[in-house]
Amino acid sequence: MSRTRVLDTVDEAVAGVEDGATVLVGGFGLAGMPFDLIDGLIRQGAGDLTVVSNNAGNGDVGLAALLRAGRVRKVVCSFPRQVDSYVFDELYRAGKVELGVVPQGNLAERLRAAGAGIGAFYTPTGAGTPLAVGKETRVIDGREHLLEYPLKGDVALIAAHRADVLGNLVYRKTARNFGPVMATAATTTIVQVGDVVPAGALDPEAVVTPGIYVDRVVRVDARRYTVEGAR
């Protein structure tokens, strides 16, 4: 058996998240959002969280519900403002949540760097813009670059399509998005899946996240969700 534990309940899967933790939350809008794990985190009760995710919640579900519950001190994301991000909008305007905006590619690359042991990297994205303020710059091959540092999580909450008992994961279509990089970037990676299969049931050529990156897996029932929200 590998270090990955397959747990019976969502509550076991999210146990132990500490106040003040940095939590990486997968998903791009609703696709790939780990709804069950977030609901479990709300029940679990950890607060004062820094949440790193591409968006800042949609409708009243998932990340929006966590925000509504008052557990989030700061959101680090690329795109908080959406048609249905009213929970975040209200908290932000009321000064009840901080916001760090990171260009989406720098967000993904900083997460990858955290997982890959890269100390820092130079990227052209954001150079010469207001998001470059305070950042170290360097001209490489005639082009200005910003120095960006890794973004590491204490916990990652991820939704994947299927896991084997070793924690190897496959995803489904564009719900893959941030899952694979976040899995590498957190001390404890927690994954909800639709299906857990025996070792050997996944094609080794098609595994996207090897089990080495996965600490806990829990199977959840399929949930229907739409662009208007999960239900």
Partner: protein, 212 residues
């Protein structure tokens, strides 16, 4: 006659080379896809991890796990490939996309782009993938109205809005004309229902005309 949004999308589509890998930004640029003939072999990239994106999904084809960057359900074409976000943005940043089409608040005569923030103090800042797209593609096309609703030019000497990227735009497609921008300033490539003289009178940038 100036172009309708649909005619503008068709005009942009005409400049997309056969077989190109293309990213279409959220909003108006998405409509360019409707004017790309299937036999042109253009492959669409969406930043949320896919090449070979097909048209918007309808009815039973709607799959919440398959959306474009605007979170609209889309479809998959034969030969598609999925990848994660770091790989998707590596593809963009690494200069592998042939063309990216973006909307804009302002474009400067030297190709600076402002399309992510109006600078309004109460606006919630949200950049998404705009900065990555702007610096990454081999060619960045902007598609926009040439003037704001109140008549202010959006092709400007230098951007007043916060920048998305510096010197990244090569072409600006507008309802009134098509412009090349860059180190040498603005060149008028085409006008729609107007003349270079009329445009000159309304814009604060110097216009060069290609002579043949």
């Amino acid at each position: 006659m100036s172009l309708t949004p649909d005619e503008l999308a068709a005009r942009v589509a005409r400049d997309i080379p056969a077989g190109a890998y293309v990213n279409l930004g959220i909003g108006q640029p998405t409509k360019v896809a409707d004017h790309l003939p299937a036999d042109l072999g253009v492959v669409l990239h969406t930043e949320n991890g896919m090449l070979g994106m097909g048209p918007a999904a309808t009815g039973d084809d709607v799959d919440p796990d398959l959306t474009n960057a605007g979170k609209v359900p889309v479809t998959e074409l034969p030969g598609a490939a999925y990848f994660h976000h770091a790989d998707s943005f590596a593809m963009m940043r690494g200069g592998h996309l042939d063309v990216c089409v973006l909307g804009a608040f302002q474009v400067s005569q030297h190709g600076d782009l402002a399309n992510w923030h109006t600078g309004a103090p109460d606006a919630i800042p949200a950049v998404g993938g705009a900065m990555d797209l702007a610096i990454g593609a081999k060619q960045v096309f902007v598609m926009m109205t040439l003037f704001t609703k109140s008549g202010e030019p959006k092709l400007v000497p230098s951007c007043g809005y916060p920048l998305t990227a510096v010197a990244c735009v090569s072409r600006v497609y507008t309802d009134h004309g098509v412009f090349a921008v860059g180190r040498d300033g603005v060149t008028v490539l085409e006008t729609f229902g107007t003349t270079v003289g009329e445009l000159s009178a309304r814009l604060d940038v110097e216009l060069t005309v290609l002579t043949r």
